[in-house]
Symmetry: none
Amino acid sequence: MAGTPLKPLPAFEAAARTGSFAAAARELGVTSAAVSQQVKVLEHFWGRTLFLRQGNRLSLTDAGLTAYPPLANALTAIGDLSERMQGITRRARFVLSALPSVAETWLPLRLADWLADGGDRQVDIRIEDDPVDFNRDRVHMRIFHGHSLYADYCTEVLFRDRIIAIATPAVIACHGASVPALPDKTLIHTDWGTDYATGPDWSDFLSGERVIDAGAGLRVTTSSAAIQCALAGLGVALVPAMTAKHHLEAGRLRRVEAPEMQIDRPYSVAYPHAIKDWPIVGSLVESLRRSG
Amino acid sequence: MAGTPLKPLPAFEAAARTGSFAAAARELGVTSAAVSQQVKVLEHFWGRTLFLRQGNRLSLTDAGLTAYPPLANALTAIGDLSERMQGITRRARFVLSALPSVAETWLPLRLADWLADGGDRQVDIRIEDDPVDFNRDRVHMRIFHGHSLYADYCTEVLFRDRIIAIATPAVIACHGASVPALPDKTLIHTDWGTDYATGPDWSDFLSGERVIDAGAGLRVTTSSAAIQCALAGLGVALVPAMTAKHHLEAGRLRRVEAPEMQIDRPYSVAYPHAIKDWPIVGSLVESLRRSG
DNA sequence: ATAGTCCATAAGAATTTCTTTCGGAAAGGC
DNA sequence: GCCTTTCCGAAAGAAATTCTTATGGACTAT
């Protein structure tokens, strides 16, 4: 197979099977121009026309028909080998991808409820920021803050959340239960990273009532870290309400009086169209939604 | 086979088969660093170590052993399909590569004898200088002057040759049958090109007995052209004996008295190990050898 | 006619693949 | 032991491939 370019083979196979460069492109996660180019590379190498192009329609030539069956078999064999090399058990697990702020706070509790309700499939959780490559990372479902990044997938809204200020009862007793009265050094600042385009900060809450010395208080990089610091009595933190819900219910943390800030984008899930009828998808979405 | 990189697969296959990145690199026509890199890409993608590296030695892991057979089969299938797509008739011909000086002189006669003796396979002859890329050009056998360029292939010595001085009987009758007596203008000079590292010339024959005016006689660029000039009575030429053999036997040309010069490197053939048991290889080598 | 879809092409950006160089390990010869 | 040769790894940079974007033409449905 000296010199045979391998890269174009999946593109040819997908186009031959679907009868469309556009469909092959969607399946492979590239543009149709890339598929067109790859098929051309292969046609040039083999010296044969593989597809008839008529206006905007596509059909296989005899040469293309000859090549398809053995090629599909070989590619399937390689695909099976590849999956086997990566571990079959991995294939059987449902891969749920979530933002760090979600995975570290409310997701584990929701999953525990889901399993208690009868969820019987093992789930792998990938903790990662946007954007997620469903194909490359074999992700079945992604939990994210609603935006258009996954417009090519099925998306469902789970619930909306808001930012609240929280502290331990001891801190509140010491400094008061209202935001304007809090000293700068008691304010825990969160570096929201890429979770939010523009993260809420303390100046949003104070609405210009005073200038905050941002260097006076603790600075953490995740919501869960902010909650842990608040639990330790180090100050007052701004967090999504859902992430602190069980602490509030247990009385370990209390709300500090402050105007609520709605989070613009709702928590949502995205998954490929191909798996929308899977029972696990339905039961997971329902369970995740119930937390709202 | 979402995301499986195809490019590294032939490198892995060749390295697994040969047990050496360096050998695989030579086979694939790239550097060993490229093979090393490609195998690493595959190891990272599959999440498994495929080779054990110990100092400068390489051995397959269990994972590598598991992957090799199905992969080799799939790649062979793709290779066969690829060759079929490029034309079966092309594959069925035995491709013999030869130096110009060989192809233009004694090879056609030897092939005629071989066919008369029962050789029934069609042969394509590529006429080209060294070095030959067996893989890229799909060459089955190469005829060359013995050197180490094809050390990775099977090589056999055909015969040794020598340089002789020849002319027509008429030229000899006019100028004499001994080299020192020949006028400068009767000496046909050959520009040997890349056929010989240092080509023999007339001063080698005269051993300092006199200084030759190299510009006085004809100058040609190939042995066959030198022979044709000699046949035309234009002078005396230095040629490999084998190339003039049939003219000498027919009496069209005669030897001019001169010390013989052995050609350092013998005529040899090289072919890939994979085809060493082919009957055509055996019969061709035998026939080519008989000319010695 | 308009809108949407699909393939082709060209240009440029992004990524992959390659080469070269250097270093360390191993084996063999003297 | 020392030297030479061969082989694999890593890093850096060059070269080639692959991809995207934008535009145009063809086709189909409304």
